[in-house]
């Protein structure tokens, strides 16, 4: 160890440090894709500042910050810039970032919410007290309130406004300063200017009533404005933290240790990272699986709510696959490890969700630009209004300028899209459809054709026994033979045998021998030789309809296996038709099998025997006729066709999903999630439009009022805070 050059050791340690929150899409030598959680963000403009600061560093290729979830996705070269320098650069512009692995991020969230609550309380509580002291001035009849007492009440309000200005409003000022320094106008700038102008004007009026700032004080509206803004941010913070927690629930489901079995029967407890594919682990009841694998021993119930959102436990027996992070409810299972660490299904999902969350929606960027232009024009407008009123009626100039600044705060505008999209993707995730790309929600709205692949998509991966019969029928017991066939099938690894065995235990067979390409043969308790396998191998005159046969000499049981459609496939197809969409079935399987499946599910437009090229051609043909196609496939053999579709949905199981180019993953394998997702996408678009319309309408109505001097700062503060609240709460409707 001592011979290792220090630089190499540092790089090695760095790589291990990066591992929990970093992916290397182009191999270990290429760029790293790291995920961070950012603290100190409170508006859409912050993301631009962070991105600009990071892109200035050497070795940083791309940085993208999602304002709504406060996540940063960074594409960079660890060999050219150190992690510490990245964090220092962020610190310099006023944000803190921690690698997005659960614990430090959770601690940061805790501090953030503690700080936010504290600020909100100071502002809210003092707002009430200030209002109490302001009431006499509103309700007293002229002459009832002595000037001395009035001045004392104002002084009291001023004292209580100080902590609100100095502490609660701190984030607005620091945010505005940061935005100004980065030459980017966000919502903090007009808010901070509005607050500062109001406070200075009121303070001047308090201590020098005859001065140029007039004699009106606005401490009550000022504190109320700050309190309402902080309340809106508190809700936003809560929504963001809930999204982050949902992610961590997936990431945190892995157990801290696993019991590894050795060939000599001994076992040891090791951390999950130490497991390698091919090793066997024993999972006790109540324990979570540390890796993806296949059960080799034991049977029991497993809770896969992590993947499917379905809380009903699933029965698992030898031969079934289990995924890391799901919970073994009863029975002791021995599992052969197939995938570990970052390759596991759970980690693939986490990575996808993180990527989706840190990706800034396209229209979000557009909205940012709109908001910046909007802010600039508002500042000019307020200045012009102040000057105009100064000339006409100097005593009201400040009040009008303040009202314009406060009323036009663009936060409703910038919150509108991210709030809706984030809520919708959370609602879809709970139904088992994970969006890897938030912009897919927009494309989902326009879909009018849904194309299904057959095998693995509409049908289950495994075959089911469709029919069994005995030839010659000389009193042979077909069901008895079937039970024997199932018990022999349990000994074979062949998919057909596995489908036949269907979890039933293996029987008492001796001299079991697998014959490659043919089947399996074994002797029963009486020493009689039985064969299970290809019909031509088992019987002398094979039945043309049989796929499998089981028999000994003349006594032969013929078996036909067929794909079973998924339980909710017919329901989902009917629901899609009900939404007025075209449904097509496009399969590479035999036309007869495709026709049978289509008839069973009620799909009238089907095409069988298609090659990947002809599938692609068919898809392009439909698209050229103006159809917007949503393609659902298993993501493995139809990848090129999927890639050409407008919206790509992959059935999600196994390691492939981490690499697939799908927009969304149907991890629950419940097809009903598709019509639900399409409906939700429409609803999201509706909510988004409502939000934007509200923000626009509100500004159209209020700005002229404020310019005309008919809107006191108190009403302006109320209006703008409630418009932010409206936007966030309206988006929450998507959660139902």
């Amino acid at each position: 160890m001592s011979a290792t050059p220090p630089s190499l050791r540092a790089a090695d340690a760095d790589a291990r440090l990066l591992a929990p929150f970093t992916a290397w899409p182009d191999g270990p030598a290429g760029a790293a894709l790291s995920q961070f959680q950012v603290a100190g963000m409170h508006c859409a403009a912050c993301s631009g500042i962070i991105e600009a600061a990071l892109l200035k560093l050497p070795g940083v290729e791309a940085a993208s910050v999602n304002a709504a979830s406060a996540r940063l996705a960074l594409r960079w070269q660890p060999s050219r810039v150190a992690l510490a320098d990245l964090l220092a650069a962020l610190q310099a512009v006023g944000y803190r970032a921690t690698p997005d692995v659960a614990a430090p991020a959770r601690e940061m969230r805790r501090l953030e919410s503690r700080q936010a609550l504290w600020r909100l309380f100071v502002a809210g509580f003092l707002m009430m007290q200030v209002m109490m002291l302001a009431t006499p001035a509103y309700v007293a009849a002229p002459g009832e309130l002595s000037p001395d007492l009035d001045q004392l009440l104002r002084l009291g309000s001023w004292v209580m406004t100080l902590p609100v200005m100095a502490f609660s409003a701190g984030p607005f000022f620091s945010g505005a300063w940061r935005q100004l320094r980065a030459r980017r106008l966000g919502m903090d700038v007009p808010v901070a200017i509005g607050i500062a102008v109001t406070f200075v004007a009121s303070t001047g009026a308090l201590f020098d009533p005859a001065g140029p700032l007039g004699h009106e004080v606005y401490f009550d509206s000022l504190t109320m404005f700050i309190a309402l803004l902080l309340l809106a941010r508190w809700f936003e913070l809560g929504a963001r933290h809930r999204a982050a927690e949902a992610l961590e629930a997936v990431a945190g489901a892995l157990p801290a240790a696993a019991e590894r079995l050795h060939d000599d029967g001994s076992s040891e407890r090791v951390p999950p990272e130490a497991l390698r594919p091919g090793e066997r682990i024993r999972v006790a009841a109540g324990e979570a699986f540390a890796a993806d694998g296949r059960i080799v021993e034991g049977q029991g119930w497993v809770n896969e709510a992590l993947l499917t959102g379905e809380s009903a436990p699933v029965a698992k027996a030898a031969g079934d696959e289990v995924v890391a992070g799901s919970l073994n409810l009863d029975g002791v299972l021995v599992v052969t490890v197939q995938r570990v660490g970052a390759d596991t299904t759970a980690q693939g999902i986490v990575r996808l969700m993180q990527q989706a969350q840190s990706q800034r929606p396209l229209a979000g960027g557009m909205l940012d630009r709109v908001a910046a232009g909007f802010t600039a024009s508002v500042l000019l407008l307020a200045l012009a209004a102040g000057l105009a009123w100064w000339w006409m009626e100097p005593s009201r100039a400040v009040a009008v300028a303040v009202a314009v600044l406060i009323v036009t705060c663009p936060c409703a505008l910038t919150l509108a899209a991210p709030a809706a999209w984030l809520t919708a993707s959370g609602a879809l995730a709970r139904r088992g459809l994970l969006l890897a790309d938030l912009s897919a929600l927009e494309r989902l709205c326009t879909v009018d054709t849904v194309v299904f692949d057959k095998t693995g998509t509409l049908s289950e991966d495994r075959l089911r026994l469709r029919r069994h019969w005995v030839q010659g029928a000389e009193g042979a017991d077909a069901d008895g033979l079937l039970a024997a066939a199932r018990s022999l099938a349990g000994l074979s690894r062949h998919p057909h045998a596995q489908a036949l065995a269907d979890g039933s235990g293996a029987g008492a067979w001796t001299a079991v021998r697998e014959v490659a390409g043919r089947g399996v043969e074994a002797r029963d308790a009486d020493g009689r030789l039985w064969r299970l396998g290809a019909p031509a191998w088992v019987g002398e005159r094979p039945d043309v309809q049989a796929r499998l046969a089981f028999g000994s000499g003349d006594c032969v049981l013929w078996l036909d296996l067929a794909e079973a459609p998924r339980a909710d496939a017919a329901e989902a197809v009917a629901a899609l038709y009900g939404q007025g969409r075209r449904v097509r079935l496009l399969s590479g399987d035999q036309p007869a099998a495709v026709a049978r499946m289509a008839a069973q599910l009620g799909i009238d437009d089907w095409r069988g025997g298609a090659t990947p090229e002809s599938k692609l051609a068919a898809l392009r043909d439909w698209q050229s006729r103006g159809e917007r196609v949503l393609m659902v496939g298993d993501g493995i053999n139809d990848a090129p066709v999927l890639a050409a579709a407008d919206v790509r949905v992959a059935m999600g199981q196994g390691a492939m999903l981490a690499r697939s180019a799908a927009d969304a993953l149907l991890v629950s394998n419940r097809l009903m999630a598709l019509p639900q997702a399409l409906a939700l996408a429409q609803k999201t678009r509706r909510v988004l439009r409502q939000n934007l319309a509200w923000a626009a309408l509100y500004n159209l109505a209020c700005v002229p009022l404020a310019l005309a001097g008919w809107l006191p700062p108190l009403a302006a503060g109320l209006g703008m805070a409630s418009s932010s609240l409206f936007v966030v709460l309206n988006a929450q409707r998507l959660n139902r």
């Binding site: 805790r110 503690r114 309380f121 509580f125 003092l126 009291g156 004292v159």
Partner: protein, 49 residues
């Protein structure tokens, strides 16, 4: 009404005191997990902390 000249400053001081007390409560983590505080009575002495 002269008493108001005493009561108003007094109430302002009181309000600031209350804010300070709440700040201490928030910053010492007492409001972090409200559900747990309610369940504490169901736990054994040594688990409750």
């Amino acid at each position: 009404m002269d008493i108001l000249y005493l009561l108003i400053p007094f109430s302002v001081v009181l309000v600031l005191l209350i804010v300070a007390v709440f700040g201490w409560a928030v910053n010492s983590g007492q409001l972090e997990d409200l559900a747990r505080e309610g369940e504490r009575i169901l736990l054994d002495e040594d688990q409750g902390t």
